[in-house]
């Protein structure tokens, strides 16, 4: 038996190999994953529990000359409720944007951020708003940015959006 164990050890070492990581580049803000310009949620996955809050960030990806935006977010009102919406850093507060939101309490919230005046605009990628949800039921729910969302330039023209992001909250 002693010999068998030696031989087995030797054989095992022949097939030795180490654990490998296969990184998946799935960051929604990576232009390879979402075609710009886009309105996205990042990160996409959230784990939480009943009664806990989840802070979900909305991002504008690779936008150009944006003076105003409307982000419509759909959620399951039986699973989560909106507790707070605050402006992100993308629409610079020094330029005094108008920031309002409207939660219809039926699973739809509209977030508006608009520069008053025709010469104010922003470009690039950035955080446009942070929405706080409270988990009211266990399970998995999808938070989806609807295609009703809009970006407007300083002349009030619509900038076509290519991608609309979504996020998932898993509550246990």
């Amino acid at each position: 038996m002693r010999w068998i164990s030696f031989i087995l050890t030797a054989c095992v070492s022949v097939f030795v190999s180490c654990d490998l990581i296969d990184p998946e580049f799935d960051n929604p803000l990576d232009v390879q994953n979402n075609k710009p310009p886009a309105l996205l949620i990042s990160p996409e996955d959230y784990a939480s529990s009943l009664g806990q809050s989840v802070e979900m960030s909305l991002y504008a990806l690779e936008v150009e000359g944006v003076a105003g935006m409307r982000a419509q977010v759909n959620y399951d009102d039986t699973m989560v409720e909106v507790t707070q919406v605050v402006p992100g850093t993308f629409f610079d507060s020094n330029q005094s944007p108008l920031f309002v939101y409207d939660d219809d309490k039926n699973g739809k919230i509209d977030v508006y951020s608009v520069f008053l005046g025709s010469n104010k605009q922003v470009s690039g990628t950035g955080n446009i708003a942070i929405i706080n949800f409270r988990v009211i039921s266990n399970g998995e729910t999808v938070i989806q940015i609807s295609n009703e969302s809009q970006l407007l330039d300083s002349n009030g023209n619509s900038i076509p959006l290519q991608s609309f992001g979504k996020g998932v909250i898993r509550a246990q």
Binding site: V14, V16, L20, I21, P23, F25, N27, V31, P43, E62
Partner: protein, 351 residues
Amino acid sequence: MRSITSLGLLCRYFNFRVKLFSIIDISKSMYRYYLILFTGLALMRAQESSVISVGVVDFQAEGISDLEVRTLTQRFTSELNNTARAILFDREVLNNQITSAGLTVAGCKTPECILTNIGNELGAQFIITGSISKNGDRYALAAVLTDVVTQKAERVLSTDYRGPVDGMITELEIMAWEIMDLEPPESLVTKRKGKTKKKIKKPNTKSSIGALARATALPGWGHFYLDQNSRGLMFMSAEVVALATGYFAYMNYSRAYDNVDRYWGFYKESTDHTELQNYKTRTLEAEQIMLDNNNLLTVAFRAAAAIHLVNMLDAYMTEIVQKPLGSSATVGFNLDPISHQPQLRLTIALD
């Protein structure tokens, strides 16, 4: 029976030469030349020989008288001389050495006793001790050949014999051949009587299994055990190189793995486009290093395993060349038991 060792003769011959050359006043350079030539010839002769010097100690007795056992030891010694493989050390000198050490011959018949008390003064390379015990028509004979220098038993023979007493003497004579690792002559074998049960052990004999066990435990050890030092060193070095390569590859892999994990985490959490691309690039670079080193360590450890297996197989299959008795060369001073003068003892390979 020859009463002195060939080495004793050699030393006396040297003494004689010294006197002779001093009388005829031969030049010093000539003397050196002859001395070197003679020593060389003596060494060559000794290397070609397979003769060893042996001192036979009176066997221990049980169930037979001291006189009988002395006679039987004498028969054994005579037969040992017939093998022409042993230069016999004078038993009287051996007995004198024992009594000079303050012991009695009857009380010092084991190898331990002999070697502990007069081991350094013995002029023989080996001693043979033994025992003869009798119980009715059953005889138990035993003989042990012990190396004086290493103090290890080289051959252990035991024979259980049942039959007439002359058959026992034949068995004793056969043992004299067997202890010298020789086939007994046909004339002796045909004289055999009664029933015999025999055991022969060679404790220092090398075996393939022994080599395999050592090679399994440590690559190269099996070859060192078989005196295949260069091959042993080769296997050991190759294994060390393969394992070291594997180890360093593992260290690099481990570092790269951590980097992949860290940079990938940064990438996933990143919200800045430039930063995100930077972490993605770093993750990919670290991933490549991780994969390369994983491949290298796999190859290195496979090579190490292959070397280990080949080493084991080679050690097992290597032909074992048994060193003849007294093949290890030693040089040392000791007291000549006959002349009671210091003696330069040179022990060299005799085959």
